[in-house]
């Protein structure tokens, strides 16, 4: 770089390296260009925007905080299950037709559902329902989207003739549950969910939620489009516009022999099946998990809505499934086939029930040779069975990739533990209040910025202007990063996040102070500015690094263990800390170093903030002018000490050195020193 400056005197033999400051600034420019280029490209070809997404406390909306708990007994919810719970809730939320809602895990045990705009009570209730896995046999299957070709009920010989229904409980086939008491009093139906409980048909439970009463109902996605106004509470009372998954309200004409018996296909089942449209997202919301009656058949969709099913009563409960894992499929010789499979393990009860189930349905024609794993009211998978599977272990094969096998295994594992969701908090946030808060937050930020700038100008004079520029650069970078994260990570700026950004003005400026003060120290030690900047930077760098590291650690700890709105704050605190480092290293330092070569700063102008005289250094401005370096305070002091020692402790003014007359000879390298006064 430029060598037209007076040669610098390296002290202590360490040559002052001349870093490539221009290049450093170029790096910063590149970083900024990449950042904004990415956002710009994203806004053209993707859905990036030039304004960050706002969190609910600024935008208004509904936020529900749920904690999943095992329904029965103790036990901890594992991270795996938490993730699955999140997915289930996400499916429910999306199914209710709420756009842009967000479901996230916070603090390692909570699920936060954020819904912009108003949500109805029915939607909120649906979200927090418990979930459960069961296995049922498939009675009828059809494509999910179009109306079914035929009425399945019509195929049922019994359904057509209600009069044929024998009321005789004795005709009831023996079932694992004790049917003896049941026929006499339908209300006395045992509530325990014994496996294989194809409960007597006559015993439909009147209290079981009926399709019409089910909260899945909320408005179908088409409804909000028709009326832009958000649905109000009144909507809850209105019946669902499209019929969804459900259970029949009538009883089979003939008591079914077993869970696979066609007698389950009553008129009502037929009606439900005919009307069910699985292409309607509202019907894929699930959330019937805790409510569906295991003793009744179920009419529902597959999770992706591609197939709709009539399923028999639940025969195996999630609690009877002890494990499920993905592994590479092998053929009969034990050679890997390249495909993937999902292993299932049952406990002894579950194993027996599964053996009975497979023995029965393997004899039937498709699709009745399939059994379905139903999670949260929807069919996760429905494999067909070709033979009896004893021993409590089974393997599901198919067109699995490692990913899809893992996903299925996870879902089944999750379902093994029935979960309920405690609503920890529920907030309906007003958009009016939010925008008021945002406006005032911005005002606070501007006031804070103005105060900081004013203080800098007073304390550091022209150097204060560097600070202002650096703060602007930091602000731009912050903005860019927030836009980027808003786009890629779905980051939403909350009020706490805004507070973090405002507070960051102070911490960013603090790094500059540490740097500037270090440079001043070096000037006091007698260095000329250019070398003082480098020496000061080397020393300040460490301090800035460690103090930013500490702040960053607190941000990470806050983020990981976040509660409530702490997260937004931790997020911005972390971002700004990193950007602070970037700016001080890639902007403030090189800019100050480059400015140090100018006459104004390097010459130690009174208003530069680095006026050596002002700072008590002996390196007077004339040194710059004449290319001479004078003795430093330290050297003079050392000399003085020598003198004092020689002169038997006569030592003069102990302070900043003796006050000499301040005039330097025109070009003499005289060791004159200016006083501090």
């Amino acid at each position: 770089m430029s060598n037209d400056r007076p040669p610098q005197r390296a002290r202590r033999g360490a040559p002052v390296r001349r870093p490539h400051h221009g290049r450093t600034l170029g790096v910063l420019l590149l970083v900024a260009a990449l950042l904004f280029g990415a956002v710009g490209a994203g806004s053209i070809w993707s859905d990036a925007r030039w304004a960050p997404g706002l969190a609910l406390d600024l935008e208004g909306g509904t936020q529900v905080l749920l904690t999943p708990r095992p329904t029965a007994g103790g036990g901890e919810v594992t991270e795996d299950q938490l993730q699955q719970a999140r997915n289930i809730i996400e499916q429910r939320v999306n199914g209710t037709g709420i756009n842009e809602s967000e479901v996230s895990i916070q603090g390692g045990e909570n699920i936060v559902v954020s819904i912009p705009g108003e949500a109805t009570r029915a939607q909120l209730d649906l979200i927090s329902q418990s979930s459960q896995l069961s296995m049922r046999v498939v009675l009828v299957a059809a494509e999910g989207a179009p109306a079914p070709a035929g009425d399945p009920a019509a195929e049922d010989p019994a359904a057509g003739d209600p009069a044929a229904e024998p009321a005789d409980p004795a005709a009831e086939p023996a079932e694992p549950t004790d049917p003896a008491a049941e026929p006499a009093d339908p209300a006395a139906q045992p509530t325990d969910e014994a496996e294989g409980a194809a409960a007597p048909a006559a015993l439909r439970r009147d209290t079981a939620p009926e399709p019409a009463a089910e909260p899945t109902g909320a408005p179908a996605p088409a409804a909000p489009e028709a009326s832009p106004a958000p649905p109000t509470l009144a909507d809850v009372a209105t019946p669902r516009p499209t019929p969804g998954p459900g259970q029949p309200t009538d009883s089979p004409a003939t008591p079914p022999a077993d869970a696979s018996d066609q007698a389950w296909l009553t008129e009502d089942v037929g009606r439900l099946f005919t009307e069910l449209d699985c292409s309607d997202p509202a019907n894929l919301a699930g959330g019937t998990g805790g409510a569906e009656d295991p003793a009744l058949p179920l009419v529902t969709c597959s999770q992706d809505g591609s197939v709709k099913y009539v399923l028999g009563p639940a025969e195996i409960q999630g609690t009877q499934l002890t494990g499920s894992s993905a592994r590479q499929a092998v053929n009969q010789q034990g050679q890997p086939t390249g495909g993937w499979a999902v292993d299932l393990q049952f406990n002894s009860e579950g194993g027996d029930a599964f053996e009975a189930l497979t023995a029965r349905i393997s004899q039937l024609e498709p699709p009745r040779d399939q059994f379905a794993a139903v999670l949260d009211g929807l069919v996760v998978t429905a494999p067909s069975v070709s033979g009896t599977i004893p021993g409590g272990r089974a393997e599901i094969t198919g067109n699995f990739t490692q990913e899809s096998a893992d996903a299925l295994a996870q879902q089944l594992r999750f379902g093994a533990l029935p979960l309920s969701f405690d609503v920890q908090s529920e907030e309906q946030l007003s958009a009016t209040l939010g925008s008021e808060q945002l406006r005032n937050g911005i005002i606070a930020g501007l006031v804070g910025l103005a105060l900081v700038v004013a203080y800098f100008l007073i304390q550091y004079r022209a150097l204060g202007l560097v600070t202002v520029t650096a703060l602007v650069v930091a602000a731009l970078l912050n903005w860019g990063v927030i836009l980027l994260l808003s786009w890629l990570q779905g980051f939403r700026l909350s009020l706490a996040g805004v507070a973090g950004l405002i507070i960051a003005i102070g911490t960013t400026a603090d790094s500059f102070i540490i740097f500037f003060e270090r440079v001043r120290d070096e000037i006091r030690e007698g260095r000329v500015l250019a070398s003082a900047v480098e020496a000061g930077w080397r020393r300040a760098r460490r301090t800035i690094l460690i103090s930013n590291a500490v702040t960053f650690i607190s941000a990470v700890v806050l983020y990981v263990l976040a509660v409530g709105n702490v997260r937004g704050f931790a997020y911005t605190l972390g971002i700004t800390t990193v950007i602070d480092l970037v700016v001080v290293a890639l902007f403030t330092h090189p800019v100050v170093a480059l400015l140090a070569r100018t006459r104004f700063f390097g010459g130690g102008h009174k208003w530069s903030g680095f006026d050596p005289e002002h700072l008590g250094s002996v390196v007077a401005r004339s040194a710059w002018r004449h290319g001479q370096v004078r003795k430093t305070v330290a050297q003079l002091r050392a000399e003085e000490r020598e003198k004092a020692r020689a002169g038997a402790g006569g030592g003069g003014d102990p302070g900043g050195g003796s006050a000499d007359d301040g005039t330097a000879g025109p070009d003499g390298p005289a060791a004159s020193e200016r006083g501090n006064a």
Partner: protein
Amino acid sequence: MGMAQLGNQLYTGERSFDFVGRRKRSYLISGAVFLLSLVLLVVPGLTFGIEFEGGSEFRVSGGAAAGELVAEDAVQEVVPGTAPQVTTVGQGDVRVQTVELDTAQLDEVRASLAEAYDVPVSDVTSTSIGPSWGANVTRQALTALVVFFAIVTLVMAVYFRALAMAGAAMLALVHDLVISAGIYALVGFEVTPATVIGFLTILGYSLYDTVVVFDKARENTDAAFRDRDRTFAEAANLAINQTVVRSINTTVVAILPVAAILFIGDFLLGAGTLRDISLALFVGTIVGAASSVFIATPLLVDLRRRERGVRALDAAVAERRAAAPEPVGAGPAGGAAGTGGAGGPA
């Protein structure tokens, strides 16, 4: 001007405040404040918000003009027999706090308040917090605190390569935290999750100043061990003096935006996230800066006083001074920054 000049004099030692020498007084004062804070934490104690206690809260934007009585009636209409707490906050918002309501009541009260104040329902914010949530929040906050302390102690110990420094910094941190909490109790602001954020962030900021002073202290004491020209306590004290100006500057600069948020959060918005975060930070930053000067560094001196090396240094310096009486404080900059002294201008 003033600051830079003061900075010079403090740097060279021309002017020097004996922070370390007068540490007994610092300990006494801060000990008293610490105890007082502990008392304040019991009486009157912290006021916990509904996030910790459980309950329901409503906020009606721009409802203050109609008065607070309206809100009481509106709530009692839905839930007879409750005594809601109604306050005016910020610029004309009304805040209503009740016991925890069930979801149906929550919706009804919200609608009823909107009707009573003649605002759209969407202008009424409602929050309902279950009783177990508070315990949850508290546990999380304490976990965060413990994890943070553990990590930072480790980082400090590694960075300074001295347990005494990490120990002194952590003691000062506890001191800051308790005093900030005491002042929070005194002011009587509600403790909300936002307050917890504030407190946990104090930890970071309080350490910031301590790190700056300790960095300089390490430099000075290293030089003292080498040059044997001043005692450990003197070297540490010089470090405080040399960094006090930047401590003041960084604190002022850090506090200005916080003060802006506090002022606007309190006067324009009333209770809320901004106010809760900023009060905790405002107090914590000031206490943190003061403690790094008056508590952390003197503690460091006391913690290391009995070390063999430090005792040897102090003895050597005393011996040297006895042999060649030198005006105390003369030329303290020599070797202070590890750069002074030797090396000629060629």
